[in-house]
Subunit: 115 residues, 4 copies
C-alpha cells in the first residue's frame, strides 16, 4: 500500500514524463543557478581581495534576491502542477488526503523560505 | 455532466456563504491578530518609557514572527481552498485559466511576504 | 563591580537624560507604531468581514514592511548612539570589552530581524 | 594631541594594510563561501536530475540560511571595526560626520538584507 504522496508521485511519473512543474523551464533554472553560483564565487573573490565589507554585503543581498526569485518560481510551478495535480485524483477520499498533504508540504516549504 | 463529487463541491460552495479558506478558523485568526495588536501597543509603550533599544527590537522581531505565522496560515488555507477550488471548475478551458490566475495571484502574495 | 554593559548604561543614564538613540525621534516612532497598530486592527476587520485572503495577505505584507522600517530606524540609532557611545569609554580595556558586548548585542538583534 | 590609546589605534590602522573587520577571519569566510557555492551547484544538479520541487526548495532555504550567517558575520565585524573605528577619529567635527556616514551606510546594507 502506498501513502497518498507516493501514489501521486508514481502516477505523475508514469503519465507525464516531464514530471515536475519546473521541468518545462529547466534550462532557464539551470542558467539562473549557474549565474548565482558565479555570484557566490565573486563574493569569495571580494573577500579574498579585501574589498570593503559594505560592497560585499551588497553582493550578498543580490544573491539573496536572485535565490528568492528562483524559489518563488519553483513555488509557483509546484502549486500549479503538483498541488493542482492532486486535485485531479479521481477517488474523492484519496483526493482530499493528497491535497491536504501537498498543501501542507508546500506551506512548510514556504515557511522555511520566510525564515 | 458532473461527477457526484464535483456536484458535491459545487453545492458546498453555494451553501457556505463565507467562502474563504480561513473562515473555519476565523475566531482563532481574530484572537491572534488581537494579540499582535496588543504586542504593537506594547512596543509603543516601551518607546514611550525609553526602554533599551535592543529590548524593543526583540519585541519587533516577535511581532514579525507572529505575523509570519498568520500569513503562512492564510497561504495554506488559500492554496487548499481557493487554488484547489479552481481545479474543480468543470469547463476545462476556464479551469486552466482560473488555475493559472489563482496560482499567479498566490505566488505574488508569497513574493510580497518574502520581501 | 559592574559588568561593562551595566557601567555603560549607568553612565548614559547619569549624563544624557534622553538616553537612547531613538529618544530624539520618540514622537515620530510613537506615530508610526500607532499607525501599525491601526493596520493590524484593519487586518482583523478584513478577516471578520470575510475579505479575500490575497487582499489580507497584501495588508500583512504592508505591516511587515512598516515594522521593518521601524526596526531599521532603531538599529541605526542604536549603532550610532549606544555602540559609538561605547567607543568613547576612556579606559581602554573596559572600552574594548564594552564595544564587543554592544556590537554582539546589536548583531544578535539584527539576526532576529533577518529570520 | 592623541591619548596613547588613540595613537595605538592609528598605528594599528597604518600597519594592517588589509584593514577590514573580516580580514582576521578571511580563511573561515572563504571556506563558508566555497561551501555555499557547492550548495548552489548541488541545487542545479537536483534541477537537472528532476528532483522533487519541495526538496529543491529545502536546499534553497538552507543556502539562504548560510548566506544570512555570512552576512551577519560581516555586519558584526563591520560595526565593530569600521563604525567603531570612525569613533576614534580625533577631529570632533570630522568624527561626527564620519560616524554618521558609516552608521547610515551600515544600516542601508542591513536594510538590503532584510528585504
Amino acid at each position: 500500500m502506498d501513502s497518498p504522496e507516493e501514489a501521486a508521485i508514481r502516477t505523475a511519473d508514469a503519465e507525464n514524463v516531464p514530471q515536475h512543474g519546473y521541468t518545462a523551464n529547466k534550462e532557464a533554472y539551470l542558467r539562473r543557478l549557474k549565474r548565482i553560483e558565479g555570484q557566490v564565487r565573486g563574493i569569495a573573490r571580494m573577500v579574498d581581495e579585501d574589498k570593503y565589507c559594505i560592497d560585499i554585503l551588497t553582493q550578498v543581498a543580490a544573491v539573496n534576491k536572485a535565490l528568492h526569485a528562483v524559489s518563488l518560481g519553483l513555488v509557483e510551478e509546484h502549486i500549479g502542477h503538483c498541488v493542482v495535480g492532486a486535485a485531479s485524483e479521481p477517488d474523492p477520499a484519496l483526493r482530499a488526503e493528497t491535497i491536504d498533504f501537498k498543501v501542507k508540504e508546500a506551506t512548510d516549504a514556504i515557511g522555511r523560505l520566510l525564515r
